[in-house]
């Protein structure tokens, strides 16, 4: 099994949204806001519409804070909204807010974990460990003669 480890401290705010979209196959577009609510980076939307996307992410947490008055428990850090055409996930820390539009079929727990992991990488430089499937040992290269005699049906194969 091979483990790919990113270099610590290399994630910049400008690249954070892109990093999230790389990490999660179900992420369609993402936006990062700083503590003041200003756009820090976006991915999946053209630069001309990134500010509009950031404004919607700001509005999302404003609405969450308004709804939170009726909800028991601590202040929400993450929000998930499932609607017909897709899903919106957002996570915030005291310094950053990261919001993503995902596919409707996305697994909420995975998407929220990815959001937290990317924010942790941005804030603390904590690298995200990604694992890939173990590769089978490659057999010796077959010669053309062997390949020609090989048949998917064992009964029809060349007799040794």
């Amino acid at each position: 099994m091979s483990i790919l480890t990113s270099m610590a401290g290399t994630l910049t705010p400008e690249r954070t949204a892109e990093r999230l979209c790389e990490l999660s196959a179900d992420a369609r577009a993402a936006v990062l806001l700083d503590a003041a609510g200003a756009l820090a980076g976006a991915h999946g939307v053209p630069p001309g519409r990134a500010e509009e996307f950031a404004e919607l992410a700001r509005e999302l947490f404003e609405a969450v804070d308004r709804a939170d008055r009726d909800i028991p428990g601590g202040p929400p850090e993450q929000v998930e909204a499932q609607i017909e055409g897709g899903a919106v996930y957002a996570s915030r820390t005291p310094r950053w807010t990261l919001a993503v539009v995902g596919r409707r079929a996305a697994l909420s727990s995975l998407m929220l974990m990815d959001l937290r992991a990317v924010l942790a990488e941005l804030e603390e430089g904590r690298p995200i460990r990604r694992s890939s499937a173990a590769e089978e040992p490659v057999a010796a290269e077959a010669t053309e003669e062997e390949a020609a005699g090989e048949s998917p049906v064992p009964e029809l194969g060349r007799e040794a």
Binding site: R28, A29, G44, V45, P46, R49, E52, F53, L56, A57, E59, L60, A63, V64, R66, A67, D68, R69, D70, I71, P72, G73, G74, P75, P76, E77, Q78, V79, E80, A81, Q82, I83, E84, G85, G86, A87, V88, A99, V101, S108, L112
Partner: protein, 133 residues
């Protein structure tokens, strides 16, 4: 444990129950919902009659719509073939060209030759002469 039905009626009822359950599940999954999570990861469902629910859904809807628009705009650009791509032309060439002589003999074969009397009774059946009635 679920009791297993026997016989064709029981099997059909089982299939119908499965289909109904799938439809119900799909409808439930399509329903909009909003959840908020606190710092410990504890999830709370925002009730549809709760404060801010409508606004949350509205904002989420606008975000999804924006991304959908961007993707829709990007798709035709990605799908456009570069100019001078000759591989696309054979498909368009299916329509008969002006100098395409292959299609004409087929039509000529189908059309009855002039002076062919066998074709006339067919026409007479569709539109009878005025004096017939």
């Amino acid at each position: 444990m679920k009791e297993r039905r026997k016989g064709p009626i029981g099997r059909a009822a089982g299939i119908a129950e499965g289909v109904a359950a799938t439809v119900r599940r799909m409808q439930r999954e399509r329903e909009p919902r909003v959840l908020v999570y606190d710092e410990t990861g504890y999830a709370r469902l925002v009730q549809p009659d709760g404060r801010g629910y409508e606004r949350l859904l509205d904002v989420a809807d606008r975000m999804v719509a924006l991304v959908g628009e961007v993707e829709a705009e990007a798709k035709p650009r990605l799908g456009r073939r570069p100019e001078g791509d000759d591989e696309a032309k054979p498909r368009r060439a299916r329509a008969p060209a002006e100098d395409d002589d292959e299609a004409k003999p087929r039509r000529a074969r189908r059309a009855p030759p002039e002076g062919d009397d066998e074709a006339k009774p067919r026409r007479a059946r569709r539109a009878p002469p005025e004096g017939d009635a």
